[in-house]
Symmetry: C2
Subunit: 424 residues, 2 copies
């Protein structure tokens, strides 16, 4: 039987989960996949983690050279997260002919082409299923199951923390700040929650997924990003009454030959299969021109779910006789600004507070009309001299509605534009 | 670039769809996957289909030897359906070193090990993504994405025709016979609908999927099968009131080391993600011990969805340098009766008509109790001297409830047991 040596860089949550799965399933994997996978070295400085997992300390060190110089190790799985030292360690591993497996979405979205250059030098492979949507095999689906399709769009809930927060706000009518605090207490959100709630994590993942969908590098600076920290429970409630659920979506689309990539909260119809994806679950809807919509759904994070994706990649890599790299030019220099759309079209939900007197609505409507922004429905409620108006706006360009709202904000009769939420 | 010759056996719905996709996407696939795929021969006797697709008649014949003896053809995709001549043609192709791609679930579930023997002889590959759930990549997920999990269960809606019928019955309160007739008129059901409505199609697919899940051959005669032809709109309606949706499910489970495989209608809670899979859509829920539940959802049939799965398999096969076959012993002789469970446990919905007089319920309850069948809830409605009773039964063994109901049927006061539906 083919014997394959693996190194684990780091024994954090997912690293530890990976070790446990590899240990428990070694014989199973040998039987079902015909490869004997042995963890031969681990980089970790916290020996309490080593001990807790019952690992022989003689295979643990803090020196990457123990990995790179070991010819029996052919696969390196990385769990550090962040850019350094992950990047240097993985580049050196690849150049030394070791395939890499990682869940590191930030590294991959920022340095994919560097890693790919090193993989070419070392004739090694890049495996990153775990970087997007944890245990749900969306990367393999895009790489190995959708070749009979031109992908028209990908749309997903790819961050569990924000989905947990939005679900809780909707189901229990709670405020953002309160739910965030609880999520932090329960360990679902980090002490510094910005990577999740400001959409960075989703942006990294969308960059990777869109690149796979459209066979063109979609760098993170081409991804529009807006988080959930300004979402209010009032708008979630109004949306509910109108038949919509609010989700933080990552959307990649090919529109008229241009790639549109964006992360932002959006109202989706309750009948959309993504609307019923609750709590920490993730899901991705991929629209192929031949297959139509397919959806993949499951847990996007956690030691064992993400660990299982890492193990799947390790086994997959171990079974390859030749590693396949991108066939498209994955270099950043291969892309042009004109490959990307910057001004996208959407329907919108707008809530504003205005003075409750005659003529205000006419002024607002006329300003919207001036910028070609057309009202679908509106709903006005008066309250102590002020009125709250909710507009549902027909599909229009982002630039148009932004210009219209800037002008509307400057009207004396308008107190505030309180919410602008895209509607899909 | 690697050039790969393909033969198509048959130009029916899916064969035609596959040809169109391969033609349209030849350049795309060359760019994104680095292989140039050329259709080099087609078996088809109906020249009107050949003409309709604009195919050069010189590459069309009715002689499989034109495929087998062509050394430039390395992949054979089969669209005949049924056992012969598909089986002989594919076995001969495999022995000649050509990998096969097929959507033929009946052939695959009945003759997998024969095909695998031939594949070993010819050093060729077996690709059958399209055989289960059309364009949804469930086979690849099981083979190449779930290796870090012991699969505990798979549960799916894998037949679009029956799901269309059940959805329509539920949404519009129609009778089975009327909906079937309409489905036949619209081409969603065959003139002889038995393969779909009696659960054969789901049984073939479950045999294949369970084999992949549990790494042990699950032959079709080990799959319990019950179709939807006896389903009545009354029970769908009662189920709805209780918060359940009725679906035809294919279920494979590992219970105490034994495989349980069954196809039957079942009530699932409305909150189960499978409950919202409507019309001709399919979905499969896979429970891995590490990843938890993942769900894959999409179109299970149709020329382009299934064609896109065939094309994905062709591209995947074309990119392999070595074809991977089952590592478990896939021979029928490797299985024992004791590998399979025959008596499974479920909750049940039972509807019966009884005489509306004192003491009847006590008799029924006592008979249920005698066989260790315990009532969760019951609901009785009287109607002209007769009463209709609906029992929701706690989890019990199939053998127990069957014995209890046989005895209940023989009671003088019981007119009929009208429905017995499993509840998940």
């Amino acid at each position: 039987m083919k014997k394959v040596g693996v190194a684990l860089l780091g024994l954090g949550t997912v690293g530890g989960g990976t070790y446990r799965i590899l240990k428990k399933m070694r014989e199973d994997i040998a039987k079902t996949d015909g490869v004997d996978i042995e963890v031969m070295h681990i980089l970790e400085k916290d020996m309490s983690k080593v001990e807790a997992l019952g690992i022989d300390p003689s295979i643990v060190s803090c020196d990457i050279n123990n990995v790179i110089n070991n010819p029996e190790i052919s696969i390196v799985a990385e769990f550090f997260g962040g850019i350094e030292p992950a990047r240097s360690f993985l580049m050196a591993s690849l150049k030394a002919g070791k395939s890499i497996v990682t869940a590191n979405k930030e590294l991959f979205s920022k340095h994919w082409s560097d890693l790919e250059e090193c993989a070419k030098i070392g004739n090694a492979g890049l495996y990153f299923e775990a970087s997007c949507v944890g245990g749900v095999p969306v990367i393999r689906a895009l790489q190995a199951s959708m070749q009979g399709n031109r992908i028209q769009s990908i749309m997903g809930i790819v961050n569990g923390t924000t989905n947990y927060i939005l679900t809780k706000m909707a189901d229990e009518g709670l405020d953002y700040a309160d739910v965030l605090k609880e999520a932090q207490r329960l360990g679902y959100a980090e002490a510094n929650p910005s990577a999740d709630v400001d959409g960075f994590d989703s942006m990294y993942k969308l960059s990777i997924l869109s690149t796979l969908c459209f066979h063109k590098r979609v760098p993170i600076d081409k991804v529009y990003r807006e988080g959930i920290s300004k979402v209010s429970k009032i708008d979630i409630e109004f949306g509910k009454q109108l038949g919509y659920t609010l989700k933080l979506l990552a959307i990649g689309k090919m529109v008229d030959g241009k790639i549109e990539a964006r992360v932002h909260p959006a109202f989706i119809l309750d009948s959309n299969p993504l609307a019923s994806v609750k709590g920490s679950f993730n899901a991705v809807l991929i629209d192929g021109d031949n297959v139509g919509d397919i959806m993949l759904y499951g847990r996007g994070a956690g030691d064992l779910p993400t660990g299982s994706a890492i193990v799947s990649d390790i086994v997959y890599a171990a079974c390859q006789t030749e590693h396949k790299l991108s066939c498209f030019d994955n270099n950043l220099s291969a892309i042009k600004d004109s490959d990307f759309s910057t001004d996208f079209e959407c329907e919108y939900y707008v809530r504003m507070t205005v003075e409750d007197k005659a003529g205000v609505l006419a002024k607002i409507a006329s300003t919207l009309g001036k910028y070609d922004v057309s009202i679908n429905t509106l709903q006005q409620t008066a309250n102590d001299g002020a009125a709250s108006i909710i507009f549902m706006i027909h599909k229009t360009k982002e630039s148009n509605i932004n210009k219209a709202l800037a002008e509307i904000k400057s009207l004396n009769e308008v107190d505030s534009v309180d919410a602008l939420i895209r509607v899909l």
